[in-house]
Symmetry: D2
């Protein structure tokens, strides 16, 4: 079965008519992200959903039919219903992959899954962002250069309040000397999470080939490889060992 | 300033008059734990609090005056108010140490901080528990033998649904062949968390010297070493580097 | 290009005519391992090499043509030439995957790559080994049951002196209450390492389906995904950023 | 017993009469480092040793009497005898703490303990180095500001070929946009290792208060807390469990 990817975007800057955002993304950030994934993962099924859809486009049925969810949110985190957040959290714990983008560091599902404040430093002056690969053998770094430049981007900077990541794949620096752990992974239950910070709505970041490559690699990497099952309490039985040994 | 420790116990088995529990712990589990800490950390200030206290004994003022909170809960997790859970979570993120014991794997603050289901396998047949030290250089393992036996204890078994721990210090096995990551650590913000699984209410585990040693080591290890501050969003200023360089 | 796998075995028990070993593995342990890989990875090219081959069958040319090297050794670790060990170490650092089996915990390349003594506890009484999956979302755990039993196997036990693993995927227990981190991963440079402890020569472990599944998963997982390149010192140039930004 | 610290320096730039180095460190880099440690750890015993001393000042007796060894080397790594390197490696595995400084990333004991090439990018143009704390709750970060500036320093840059660190405490950036994991920890056996990159011989880095604070914290943190013992193979006995249970 091909990879089933769902790109979620709050789509609020766009529907409010923000000219800068619409200039870069006339059909919404989600569409640009989805286009990039389709280009690099031609066998995947790539769909999109937005906040304004019924149940934000994230019904249980939809999540059950999704291997990988990408999440872009910024100014409407609070409008995401707690019921949907519960659902997303459980889906990840059961094995659905999650790729959280940029300002999604404050998205409800991300904060819930990580348990930290996810706060950070920021500054928006259109700085160049330098992205450095610090785990070159990691699948998410495949075909990504040792370093690449994003011409203009919002600054995200340490201290980034996240748990110790499983993997730190990318570090970013900015003209002001700031540094950020810009590509990190986590595991929650059977689910894998990849956070990638480049992608502010004011800059055309998701059109850049290196960024598209990272997102495609990330989507493939978080995809479940061992089925879907929510971890549950198991009442063990005395003597199971002996039976088991009778195999 | 001496270490300020607060031992929290739901204290429900005891107040309901459970004869087994009261047989082992006539003054409550919290009192036995506190006694062990006082014995091994004579310079510490050790206090106790229970669910029935106003605000469960966990007012903001009290938490601000606490370096390390130990948590024992079992049948009344749901009775802990969400407001107090928020408070505990923020206190840990700001640097307060947290030691979670046994059935506290399902305590609200633990689940909130970890982001997983924290489910596990269990069986209660009074098995011996073998505790193995697998990180002998870790401070929590100081003066703990390479392996020790708890004569009778409830079985907790894998799969234990927790994020990848920062440290795995102890592994436990049981007569039925079960295995459990019984001593693990996590970091959330500035706060350190130590989970230690031995300690079911039906067995006198907290009177055992090796267990008391582990708890004392754990309390010392999670204690904050760099002040208390909740991580916050920081708006950086262009040019801070240049000013900074003028030092 | 299909996965290029090389199974290395010292092949000394076999050539000395050890009846027990030959009873289980008439064509050598390497042949049984290779058969298992061919069965589960039909598209892979699976070859074998042994200590007695010229350069132990591990010439630079051969290693350059290998994606994944599996290593079984026991009584002849010291007969492996340091030159070949250097070569294997560099190949792993450059990206070649390495799967180390059972008594290979004391193989020269493993010790060199890990930097620890790799010592452990052991006992050989034909105990049942219980293998528990503790990272069910990991690709190496795909299609492996939550727990399975190896009917008879040498006991390996903690303390196992290895660096903190990147992933702990399997834990094993034995009838005597022992526990062992039996499936663990490490990264060195661009290369991935998977150590799996079941597989003593006196028991027919490599014929067991679950074990074959783990080895096939492990081989696939350690395979390089981002080319082969030995990390090197790079003399940076002032001003590279500005040029880079001219993209 | 007070902390027993030994500061080792190859002391070659100094004895060759390098005017820049002697300008900053008239009594050698080791003396400046030792002075800083004495200032901040007044209860510690701080001694020094250099390459030219008999056995490089690192006899087995001396190492057995040392809790923490700091290592500064640059142009004479190859002159350190393999016998001494073996000794240092075993001492760390047994519990001695090791703090490796700057160009010591290529010191024989460090490479041996880590198992990687430890190569990196570099450029020496006197850039400012910004050191960011990314693990503010870590004891090595105690009383270290969230970020501080080293006015002039050699650039070290990613990709730094080290295993995944246990902790990443500091990240550094440079005027050219480079980034480096400048403060990282590892565990090998019972021993803890802290690597800290600032400290090129051409700049007076070890006189700077923040750097002195980091080194003092690092020395305290790597110090053994659970005795000294080289991990060894242990032959277990059938039935030990039953005896053990007779406690």
């Amino acid at each position: 079965m091909s990879l089933r990817i769902l790109v979620w975007n709050e789509n609020v800057h766009e529907t409010r008519g923000d000219a800068t955002v619409l200039g870069h993304y006339p059909h919404g950030i989600h569409t640009a992200i989805a286009d990039g994934l389709r280009e690099l993962l031609p066998d995947a099924r790539v769909e999109t959903a937005t906040l304004a859809d019924p149940e934000h486009g994230l019904s249980q049925e939809r999540l059950d039919d999704t291997d990988v969810l990408l999440w872009w949110g910024h100014i409407a985190h609070d409008e995401v219903s707690d019921e949907v957040v519960d659902r997303v959290q459980r889906s990840v714990q059961a094995g659905m992959g999650l790729v959280v983008l940029h300002s999604g560091h404050f998205a409800k599902p991300f904060i819930r899954l990580l348990g930290t404040t996810c706060s950070l430093g920021w500054r928006n002056d259109g700085d160049q962002e330098r992205v450095w690969t610090v785990d070159p053998g990691h699948p998410i770094a495949a075909d990504v250069p040792p370093r690449f430049t994003i011409p203009a981007q919002e600054v995200y900077s340490e201290y980034f309040d996240i748990p110790k990541p499983d993997d730190v794949i990318f570090l970013s620096t900015f003209a002001g000397g700031e540094v950020f752990r810009s590509g990190v992974t986590f595991t929650r239950g059977r689910g894998r999470i990849f956070y990638f910070s480049p992608g502010d709505q004011e800059y055309p970041v998701y059109h850049q080939p290196e960024v598209r490559r990272v997102l495609a690699n990330g989507a493939r990497w978080v995809a479940p490889v061992n089925g879907r099952a929510l971890p549950e309490v198991v009442a063990l039985q005395r003597g199971w060992l002996e039976e088991d040994a009778g195999r």
